[in-house]
């Protein structure tokens, strides 16, 4: 009985954080925000070399065979750095293949996903706020798909899409497949580019396992968004604290003013204990599957709300400089807005958590 990260997990957190602090510091993020570069393939390759692309792919398929908690720890570190890249969708496609792919599909795709050679992405969102498996309407008939999906991460750069179908089915479509069109959109968080996909009679390949896998993927995604949100909110508390210790107004650092101090303390009190909610949500995903869907919903709702609040306080506390494009605040501010909205807003997941609560039953 030990509710703490293992030494390996702590080391993983540190190395990932160091990696992105070095490879994608704010100056680099600003370049990404300024120029529409799409996927940074060099950074992606380096992070794949670090093992991130295959972290939860089974070892027999070339991955590290780790658990969601490990990936959540990595995501926490990446949230801290507002790290750019397609890892969220990529890892989830790998998980879906591991859990629900045929042996042939696994053998064909997983090693290339684990090595980062192939970049994968999830195509699940549909028009009208339809994010959840039971809301998907896309239908594949005789291996052909005619549908449209939106909010697809790195749609223009991914090599492989996992598409959500009516009833929770999942199908693989390769980039460049006949009838597939990609339209990029200008998203709020340029470290995680978005696009829309149109499929017209496009060949696709079904995964043998459907709804159960789709729901696992959804829950994993929610936990990871919560982990990213914690990492970013934690960083925002740090950035506020540092700024309050540096910025001088009226003859002393603004950290001397109780107004400032209390705003930061309120943020820290809300944010810091929530990290363990993320851990527990990941732990249930790995070890207590009955509790996992509810905890995932709760964590996503709670953490992304905290993240938005904290980044807004951060900008307010910085004054003018915090509102400029050039200053680093915007990377976390906008990432928070992304995390909050992507895959459904807090109120959606709160109502889901309520519906799954044991107080619902008795």
């Amino acid at each position: 009985m030990d509710f703490d990260l293992s030494d390996t997990q702590k080391a993983l957190y540190s190395s990932v954080r160091r990696f992105f602090e070095t490879e994608a510091p704010p100056s680099r993020l600003l370049k990404i925000y300024d120029r529409d570069e799409g996927l940074d393939r060099d950074l992606w390759r380096k992070s794949a070399d670090l093992g991130l692309a295959g972290l939860i792919v089974p070892e027999e398929h070339g991955g590290a065979g780790l658990e969601l908690l490990d990936l959540a720890v990595v995501t926490d570190a990446m949230g801290y750095c507002a790290a750019p890249g397609p890892l969220l969708g990529h890892a989830l496609v790998g998980m879906a293949l591991s859990l629900g792919g045929s042996e042939e599909q696994k053998a064909r795709w997983l090693p290339r996903l684990a090595s980062g050679e192939v970049v994968a992405s999830l195509a699940i969102s549909e028009h009208g706020e339809r994010w959840q498996p039971d809301q998907w309407t896309a239908v594949a008939t005789a291996g052909r798909l005619t549908a449209s999906k939106k909010n697809v991460l790195f749609a223009a750069d991914a090599d492989l899409f996992l598409v959500g179908l009516a009833g929770g089915g999942l199908a693989l479509v390769e980039q460049g497949a006949p009838g597939l069109t990609v339209r990029e959109v200008d998203g709020i968080d340029r470290t995680r580019r978005l696009g829309a996909l149109g499929f017209v009679d496009t060949p696709c390949e079904l995964l043998p396992e459907g709804l159960a896998v789709a729901e696992r993927i959804r829950d994993a995604a929610l936990v990871l968004l919560a982990a990213d949100a914690y990492g970013g909110a934690h960083r925002s508390v740090e950035l506020m604290t540092n700024y309050a210790n540096e910025r001088v107004q009226f003859g002393r650092t603004i950290g001397h003013f109780q107004g400032v101090k209390h705003q930061i303390a309120d943020a820290a009190a809300e944010v810091e204990p929530a990290r363990q909610l993320v851990w527990y949500a990941a732990y249930t995903f790995d070890h207590r599957p009955d509790e996992a869907p509810r905890l995932a919903a709760l964590a996503k709702a709670h953490l992304t709300d905290r993240y938005v609040n904290t980044t807004r306080t951060m900008v307010l506390l910085h004054g003018g400089i915090g509102y400029t494009w050039e200053f680093h605040c915007q990377f976390w501010l906008k990432r928070a807005m992304f995390d909050r909205t992507f895959l459904g807003s807090p109120s959606v997941h709160r109502e889901r958590a309520a519906a799954m609560a044991d107080w619902q039953i008795n």
Binding site: F250, W325, K334, T341, S347
Partner: protein, 395 residues
């Protein structure tokens, strides 16, 4: 208490309506003029009629009317109702002109007021500096009188429209041996000169309406100082007051509320129109409570103002309520309502203003910017506490 106009004002209202029916929009070939020219032409006629620039003497281009807040209000409402151009509210006409009328020399008034109210000169305001956001007493940009010229060195920041402006009014340190505020003077400076470099600052929306302005031996004539040397702080308070009055007015909250209601009618939540969702309805009416409080307390302040009375702490709470309570809560509600359109970034510059729900993303970001124009929310809280309630000043 009486919310109806008396016969005198009802007849004035009729008169204004008659004028507007005749004069706006412009007729015949005048209607073919560029939009800005039409506005200028109309403003000239409305000023001649005594409807605009009522507080400004005729010799400086105003209509020199006796102060009458009710008439001013009727004009404002009627002009607004038909979309007729009103007084320019930018830095020049809105901020510099009242300052000059109170503090300027005759020459300065003659020279600067008429082009400012006609919109021919564009002015920017040089107060904030990188090291001194809310703390003007610690400004460091300095000006030295060399012969018949001020020589200016330093840097200003958050300067709206500096990239377009012909002139700047600014606070500079002219008395280095005097402490804090006492060393400041209020200077007018021509912007188009070699000693001034303007760099645009982009905001988180991607839009760029702010600037940094660098001064390297920039020049201004000796008699372009407003007020005495070392009196800059005092002079600038006139401008700051006008600035505060301009921001966060009660109608602003009402406008915003109507837009949020409109949004709730167009969007869906939990499978029904958002405006039918019980939680959204609670949010909207809770917000409306603040909006109506702000609006009617604004009307009260107006009535007191018309009688020359002060509204006490309300003089300090109005803007805070509008920008920091109503503005932030409206932003929160809007963000809830627009669903996954919140993932989009709206490009706002000029004519590319977005028409879809993503404009609310910009509103959401913009609600944070409320900080910059008139001091951060914490400074506002200090002002309410200290000036409004008589709590002690910070040590």
């Amino acid at each position: 208490m009486n919310l109806d106009y008396s016969a005198e004002y009802l007849s004035f209202q009729e008169e204004v309506r008659g004028f507007l029916a005749r004069e706006w929009p412009l007729k015949a070939e005048e209607a073919q003029l560029p939009r800005e020219d039409q506005a200028s032409l109309f403003r000239l006629r409305a000023t001649k009629q005594g409807y605009l620039y009522r507080g400004i003497p005729v010799r400086y281009g105003g209509s020199e009317q006796a102060a009458d807040p009710l008439k001013a209000r009727i004009i404002s409402q009627e002009f607004s109702r038909v979309g007729a151009p009103r007084e320019l509210e930018r830095n020049g006409a809105g901020r510099l002109v009242p300052t000059l009328l109170q503090w300027g020399s005759d020459w300065q008034k003659e020279h600067f007021v008429p082009p400012a109210i006609r919109g021919e000169h564009i002015w920017c305001q040089g107060y904030s500096e990188p090291g001194a956001g809310s703390d003007l007493a610690s400004l460091r940009t300095r000006a030295e009188l060399v012969g018949d010229q001020w020589v200016i060195n330093g840097q200003k920041i958050w300067t709206t429209r500096a990239h377009l402006a012909d002139h700047m009014f600014m606070l500079v340190r002219t008395e280095p041996d005097k402490p804090g505020r006492e060393g400041l003077s209020y200077l007018l400076v021509p912007m188009k000169q070699p000693g001034i470099e303007v760099r645009r600052l982009r905001q988180v929306t991607g839009d760029a309406s702010f600037n940094e302005v660098f001064f390297t031996d920039a020049k201004a004539p000796a008699d372009w100082i407003v007020g005495e040397r070392g009196q800059g702080w005092e002079v600038s308070r006139t401008t700051l007051k006008f600035e505060r009055d301009q921001m966060g007015g009660p109608e602003q909250g009402l406008d915003l509320f109507r837009k949020i209601v409109g949004l709730a009618k167009r969007t869906t939540r939990n499978g029904v129109r958002a405006i039918e969702d019980p939680e959204v309805r609670q949010w909207l009416v809770a917000l409306e409570g603040h909006v109506m409080s702000s609006y009617w307390s604004g009307q009260y302040q107006f009535s007191l103002g018309a009688k020359g009375e002060s509204a006490g702490v309300l003089d300090y709470t109005g803007k805070f309520l509008t920008m920091h309570v109503i503005g932030l809560e409206a932003a929160r509600i809007a963000q809830e309502l627009i669903g996954d359109d919140a993932l989009l970034l709206a490009q706002v510059t000029g004519a590319k203003a977005p028409l879809g729900n993503e404009r609310w993303v910009n509103h959401n970001l913009g609600s944070l910017a409320a900080n910059m124009g008139g001091g951060t929310s914490n400074i506002q809280r200090n002002i309410i506490a200290e000036r409004g309630l008589g709590l002690p000043r910070d040590a």
